[in-house]
């Protein structure tokens, strides 16, 4: 087993274990904190795939900002861990069956497809290439995303503020 394969399987185990805690824990704070190792595991996958800039952004936005936002909302709404309430609805078995079937279908689909290997090599330094692309080929996408960010900022403030 090569080092890359070893790293992949360790990271996959981390992601699946913390993901299981996220979806199954009766304590909602444990769920939110277990998101952090799941997101950091995905960061490890990005590094394995040679996407260093995406890995850095993943740590900043997902493991940092979104997890803290979720924890804040838990503290602002429930005022506790949610252990006094039932966290699952009555659809648990059906949901598990649907999720298992979806996973099995996707897994069979991707294992029975012959994926063509593309030509070329990844750039040695992806942040530079990403910056060039954002200010060149993908300029419209970049500007559109910034407008969406502004709209969502204003919208979140208006929705979350107290009614006068």
């Amino acid at each position: 087993m090569t080092g890359e394969a070893l790293a992949f399987y360790v990271i996959a185990a981390v992601i699946m274990a913390s993901g299981a805690v996220v979806v199954a824990s009766p304590n909602i704070v444990h769920s939110a904190v277990a998101l952090i190792p799941a997101f950091l595991g995905v960061t490890g996958l990005y590094i394995l795939l040679g996407a260093e800039f995406v890995a850095g952004v993943q740590v900043l936005i997902y493991a940092g900002a979104i997890t803290v936002l979720i924890l804040f909302v838990i503290m602002l709404t429930e005022g506790g861990t949610g252990l006094r309430f039932q966290q699952r609805n009555e659809q648990g078995p059906i949901a598990a069956a649907v999720a298992a079937v979806v996973a099995a279908l996707l897994a069979t689909g991707v294992t029975h497809t012959a994926w063509a290997r593309g030509a070329g090599v990844l750039p040695a330094y992806t942040p530079g290439a990403i910056g060039q692309s954002f200010l060149g080929t993908n300029l419209l996408v970049f500007e559109g995303t910034s407008v969406v960010l502004l709209v969502c900022l204003v919208g979140a403030i208006i929705i979350a503020r107290k009614e006068e």
């Binding site: 979806v23 602002l76 090599v121």
Partner: protein, 102 residues
């Protein structure tokens, strides 16, 4: 040797975990956590396809970055909606929010 299929199968499993959380959880915040897991699964696919199917282009990583941005937007607006629902209805359990139900 880690191939594209390894990443795709792992991402399918993470997606199924997120789907299970979205369908079976009662808490609005926990449903949003499930959505984040599903978006992460999609991002793994995008970056893996970038490396294995089109290594010369950088578009997969660009797409993943935009999905991360929109996921942050979605989390902010979704959590603001949860807060607003808690203020007016005193609950964030989505099966108790049935004002529009006849």
């Amino acid at each position: 040797m880690v191939t594209l299929t390894h990443y795709l199968v792992l991402s399918a499993l993470v997606f199924a975990l997120g789907l299970f959380a979205v369908v079976s959880r009662r808490n609005g915040v926990a449903i949003l956590m499930g959505i984040e897991l599903m978006l992460n699964a999609a991002n793994i696919n995008l970056v893996a396809f970038n490396k294995y199917a089109a290594p010369g282009a950088i578009q997969g990583q660009i797409f993943a970055l935009i999905v991360i941005t929109l996921a942050a937007c979605e989390a902010a607006v979704g959590l603001a909606l949860v807060l607003a629902a808690y203020r007016s209805l005193e609950t964030i359990y989505v099966d108790e929010i049935n004002l529009m139900k006849w």
